[in-house]
């Protein structure tokens, strides 16, 4: 085992060439994941609500988006945006933006399913009671249904964040300088320790994702006490 290429380049793994050059490495991975999950949450919330709408056209539009995206591999989606964006916009879009769009569109569909299931899991009486006491559909959603169901969805959101963090590694295929890409570069430069390098970044990914996973498990236990149930 030769760990000196890893030790010598450890700061490159953490934040790339940051103060002198572009941000990269683990910092870029986390940044990419954080931006994408924030945007994907809103996209997912929108489509999750559309999926529950009474209007057939809106409901089916959301259904088509969700089913198409969930049936396509993420790598394919990234390449679609990579090739499509320059043709539609007319100039080449930076890889980082392309990746964020692809990740948001991809994760948004999964979050939409979480939102839909979360709303459906709430007892029907909640909506009926809220409507019955004089709230409009929109008010009932905003003040009664969503606060309860969103809280129940938090563990699923955290799990989605974990898989998004893992998925950011695919950005390396179109050249975004995140952790995986940095590892590839160091591996190509040093040539003698690919196993140690990839093992190191596997452990780095693992540490982040494992902390999040155990956090979501703890949340799940805590939140299960407050759930509204049909009795």
């Amino acid at each position: 085992m030769r760990f000196d290429p890893v030790i010598n380049n450890f700061d490159y793994f953490l934040w790339g060439a940051f103060p002198q050059g572009p941000l990269g490495g683990l910092a870029m991975t986390i940044l990419l994941a954080a931006i994408s999950i924030f945007l994907a949450f809103w996209v997912g919330l929108l489509f999750g609500l559309m999926r529950n709408s009474k209007n057939k056209i809106i409901r089916y539009a959301a259904l088509v988006y969700i089913e198409i995206v969930r049936g396509t591999p993420l790598l394919l989606l990234i390449f679609w945006f990579y090739f499509l964006a320059p043709v539609i916009v007319g100039y080449s879009v930076p890889e980082l933006q392309t990746t964020v769009v692809a990740l948001v569109v991809f994760t948004g569909a999964y979050i939409a399913e979480i939102v839909r299931a979360g709303i459906e899991a709430l007892p029907k009486g909640q909506m009926e009671a809220a409507r019955g006491s004089g709230l409009s559909h929109f008010q009932a959603m905003r003040l009664v249904i969503l606060p309860q169901s969103l809280r129940n969805m938090i563990p699923s959101f955290v799990n989605q964040f974990v898989s998004l963090t893992k998925d950011t590694s695919l950005a390396s295929t179109i050249g975004v300088l995140e952790l995986t890409r940095c590892a590839e570069q160091v591996s190509n430069r040093t040539l003698n320790a690919p196993m140690e390098i990839y093992l190191t970044i596997l452990v780095m990914y693992f540490l982040i994702c494992y902390v999040l996973t155990s956090y979501s498990r703890r949340l799940e236990r805590q939140l299960s006490r407050y759930q509204a149930r049909d009795r």
Partner: protein
């Protein structure tokens, strides 16, 4: 958008042959990995349910590690890293016999088996404990109780998530193109770089993945509607 679509180009001749051979490779690598992942996943699930602590911990560490790391990096690890520890003659043999495919299969198998192990374990745990107690009290042996009471019920629950794991495996198999396995996505990229007609090739590849997923998820929904209602709690 000034792009000339030329569907004839990808749907006939040499490029169509490429896509077909890519599709066959995708199916082949998915099938082999799925079979191995089922076996490995069951083994890991059993490990985690034994009373023997070291085995239980090994199973736990295995599932947690491989579930919480990106598949892409795992693929790189097996492909670029594993030949460092293998003896020379094994490496020579592997390089002569499609090492890319083997590394892809190993990565997909290990990654998917971690998820499958969790599904199997949670499926068996979701059967109430008193089912086992009741069947033991009713005179069945431990093995009989598992065979006739627990597993038939557990399997009904596990089948839909197992199928959706298989679906994930098929979609994830697109990642092996990064190490040069010539699956359908690799072929689509090949066509794009040869002919600059990426759109058509990508559309075909997407439609294939999409139709597999849609058909399978339709089947899962039908299954859920018809069979999952019969489970006793």
């Amino acid at each position: 958008m000034n792009y000339q679509f030329d569907w004839q180009l990808v749907l006939s001749g040499e490029y169509a042959d490429w896509l077909v051979s890519g599709f066959v490779t995708t199916l082949k690598i998915s099938a082999v990995s799925l079979l191995l992942a089922m076996l490995l996943g069951t083994a890991v699930a059993v490990m985690r349910m034994t009373k023997f602590k070291p085995l239980e911990w090994f199973g736990l560490a295995f599932t947690e590690f491989f579930r919480n790391t990106p598949l892409l990096v795992q693929i790189y690890f097996w492909y670029y890293g594993s030949n460092q520890v293998l003896p020379d003659f094994v490496n020579k043999w592997l390089y002569a016999h499609d090492f890319e495919f083997a590394a892809g299969v190993i990565a997909l198998t290990v990654y998917t088996s971690a998820f499958i192990a969790e599904e199997i374990r949670s499926g068996i745990y979701s059967i109430p404990k008193n089912q086992l107690e009741a069947s033991r009290a009713g005179g069945l042996s431990f093995v009989q109780a598992y065979r006739f009471v627990i597993l038939p019920q557990a399997f009904r629950i596990i089948i839909p998530p197992l199928i959706s794991q298989s679906l994930n495996l098929i979609k994830n198999s697109s990642l092996v193109m990064v190490i040069g396995v010539m699956d359908i996505f690799y072929m689509a990229r090949q066509i794009e770089s040869y002919s600059f007609h990426g759109f058509e090739a990508f559309t075909v590849a997407t439609l294939i993945y999409l139709s597999i997923s849609l058909v399978v998820s339709l089947c899962i929904n039908l299954y859920n509607k018809h069979f999952l209602r019969q489970i006793s709690y």
